[in-house]
């Protein structure tokens, strides 16, 4: 509830290699099916779509043959110091669980959308309509995440239900649910990525791949100077891509 920085024993993090991302959008599709997001009638209206995972196109602004394109998948950053949490008047969103995933409780949300205004990453979405599945497609609804009615805010939660399932599997197998091995818990977008551009794990556990990746000299975070301390890292070797991760002055070094 407070604006203070939060630290937990486990810190689930996503490292996205922008240089490996082809912009295919498989992560967006996987996210929508995994999280019971109903197909939209008119997905061209981007003010009305629900894209918890959204792929942005980045351009270096130069003419051919210097023109270059990159793609940036944008989930919820699960900030260490989230802007959305202190503005919520009903504590429907909170960062209070080990793992550091910012929770969003739909029945508690009153739809005021302060959190959407506060989030500098545009990670939050408002459901303008009740979800409707075309006949037959309602069979794709999974019991793993709840569906949302219209009038509440929703967002990426690193497929939190998969973490719960991984912990349950560990408990039944007799292993420690609080010390999962690398790969035991993977969000749908990471699992489906065809180029392996995304890695997921505990940023504090040296046995997890993301531990090293997030500490690479090529790693950076979006709008880092806002001190939101995101748990999503990006990697690139291209300077012009890295410069788009924050608002740098023309003569400033990224």
């Amino acid at each position: 509830m407070s604006a203070a920085h939060q630290e937990f024993a486990t810190k689930w993090g996503l490292v996205i290699d922008i240089d490996k991302c082809t912009g295919c959008g498989a992560c967006m599709v996987a996210c929508q099916t995994e999280n019971n997001i109903a197909p939209e009638k008119d997905a061209s209206n981007k003010l009305r779509t629900l894209t918890w995972m959204n792929v942005y196109e980045l351009k270096n602004g130069k003419e051919f043959p210097q023109a270059e394109v990159a793609f940036l998948p944008r989930p919820c950053m699960q900030c260490g110091n989230p802007s959305c949490v202190p503005v919520c008047p009903v504590v429907a969103t909170d960062k209070n669980e080990d793992g550091g995933i910012v929770s969003q409780i739909y029945p508690r949300c009153i739809g005021c959308r302060y959190c959407m205004a506060a989030c500098p990453y545009h990670s939050r979405y408002f459901g303008w309509f009740d979800p409707v599945w075309p006949e037959g497609m309602e069979k794709t609804i999974t019991p793993f995440t709840s569906t949302r009615p219209r009038g509440v805010v929703e967002k990426c939660h690193f497929c939190h239900h998969r973490w719960n399932q991984a912990k349950d599997a560990a408990r039944i197998a007799g292993t420690d649910p609080n010390n999962l091995p690398d790969g035991a818990y993977t969000p749908a977008c990471v699992e489906v990525c065809p180029t392996g551009a995304m890695a997921f794990g505990d940023l504090k556990n040296p046995k997890h791949k993301v531990y090293e990746l997030s500490r690479s000299k090529y790693a950076f975070r979006l709008l880092e100077r806002l001190n939101t301390d995101p748990q999503v890292y990006y990697m690139t070797k291209r300077d012009w891509v890295r410069r788009q991760g924050d608002n740098y002055l023309p003569n400033e070094k990224a």
Binding site: N96, P107, K167, D168, A173
Partner: protein
């Protein structure tokens, strides 16, 4: 003057009487009529006797099992009931007739029994049975192993949920007393 005073006194007595009638009436409506109206009473499709099965030496985990993935499978399927009850008994006792009802209506056609589950939670609740295996089943569930017929199922006519469902404050109170996290996503999805 005197007349008016006596009228006034009689008026107070009437008000008190009316108040008492209304008060008792409101209590009856609130404590008895409304709960009766709010919850519909349903009986299980088959009068399954947990007691008979428990007396055979079966424990809860014999039928209510976990998947290897850690998910609790809840109620057994018709097929697993039919492993022991494949054919009609042809008996005449009430128990045997109930077994025959199960065999002819569900086991032979291969239809799942529409059991009424007392503890179903809303779909935004994640409950992990695997995390609670240290507790006795009866800490949260009714002690059906000592019941010959399943208790009636009370459905809330407004919400559609079972009356016996664990409430959020019950989950939170136990978590708090055990020192377990009460973070939202521990139980919500």
């Amino acid at each position: 003057m005197e007349e008016r005073q006596s009228n006034k006194a009689g008026g107070v007595g009437g008000v008190v009487l009316l108040f008492l009638v209304g008060f008792v009436g409101a209590l009856v409506v609130g404590w008895w009529v409304f709960p009766q109206v709010l919850f519909s009473q349903k009986t299980q499709p088959i009068r399954f006797s947990h007691k008979v099965h428990a007396e055979q030496g079966l424990d809860c985990e014999s039928c209510h099992t976990f998947a290897k993935t850690g998910q609790f499978l809840g109620l057994p399927s018709t097929a697993s009931c039919a492993e022991c009850h494949p054919d009609e008994t042809g008996g005449t006792t009430d128990d045997e007739k109930e077994i025959d009802k199960f065999v002819t209506q569900y086991a032979k056609p291969g239809i799942e029994v529409p059991w009424l589950v007392y503890q179903y939670q809303p779909d935004n609740v994640f409950f992990s049975h695997a995390a609670h295996t240290g507790f006795e089943c009866t800490t949260c569930h009714p002690d059906v192993a000592n019941m010959d017929s399943p208790p009636p199922y009370h459905e809330n006519r407004l919400s559609g949920y079972s009356k016996q469902t664990m409430k959020m404050w019950e989950c939170e109170r136990c978590h708090a007393s055990m020192g377990t996290s009460n973070a939202c996503y521990v139980c919500h999805k």
